[in-house]
Amino acid sequence: MMQAVAIIAGIFFAVGGLLAVYRIVRGPSVLDRVIASDVLVATVICALGAEMALNRHTDNLPVLLVLALFAVLGSLSVARFLPGRDST
């Protein structure tokens, strides 16, 4: 059963990440790309946590802590220093 759960969860993570990458590539403005990159980081965090939960270990927890702390810096700096009109 856990094998099937791992496969289904992997498919969900992969589709979510690919849709976020699609929005990063196609996004009509800089802010859409920033939001999509946030979603990509959140997907990576959730995938690392799911791998920990399925394999019953806690090795990735420091990685999760660092990502939760510093994933905000990219989107924050882009949103703060966005020029008045971006060239898309």
């Binding site: 969860a9 976020a20 009509p28 959140a42 799911a50 920990m52 939960a53 802590l65 009109r85």
Partner: protein, 126 residues
């Protein structure tokens, strides 16, 4: 806790987190403007992370793991709304919004806060 119940709880929480990530991707693909995409993007950042880390805490229940997980969820809950708020303000300031989708616009006529000179910027050509 019996083993089969343990497996079922793990499966439910992992699938909930994965479903949040999938829903965020679909929301990014389908939603029309920046504000509704922000709404979609904050789901895996909080709910997905909480489901997955709760799962880890259930599987390895001791003081160190639970402390680290509380710190992870706390920092994510502090930083994710900050980023979403700044992106929303920047979106309002640079007029990346669709005014026909807004129900209430309390900032109308005041200019955008935090982005000087943004009120005189023409809308982007798209």
């Amino acid at each position: 806790m019996s083993d089969i119940l343990h497996d079922i709880l793990t499966a439910i929480l992992v699938l909930a987190g994965a479903l949040m990530c999938l829903a965020a991707g679909v929301g990014l693909l389908r939603f029309p403007d920046v504000f509704s995409r922000i709404h979609a993007s904050t789901k895996p950042q909080i709910f997905g992370l909480m489901a997955v880390t709760t799962d880890v805490a259930v599987n390895n229940f001791n003081v160190g793991t639970v402390t680290l997980i509380v710190a992870i969820v706390l920092f994510q809950a502090l930083t994710a709304p900050m980023a979403a708020h700044l992106v929303g303000r920047a979106a309002y300031g640079t007029e990346h919004l669709r005014p026909d989708l807004l129900i209430v616009d309390e900032l109308a006529g005041r200019g955008a806060p935090g982005s000087p000179g943004a009120a005189s910027v023409p809308p982007p050509p798209d």
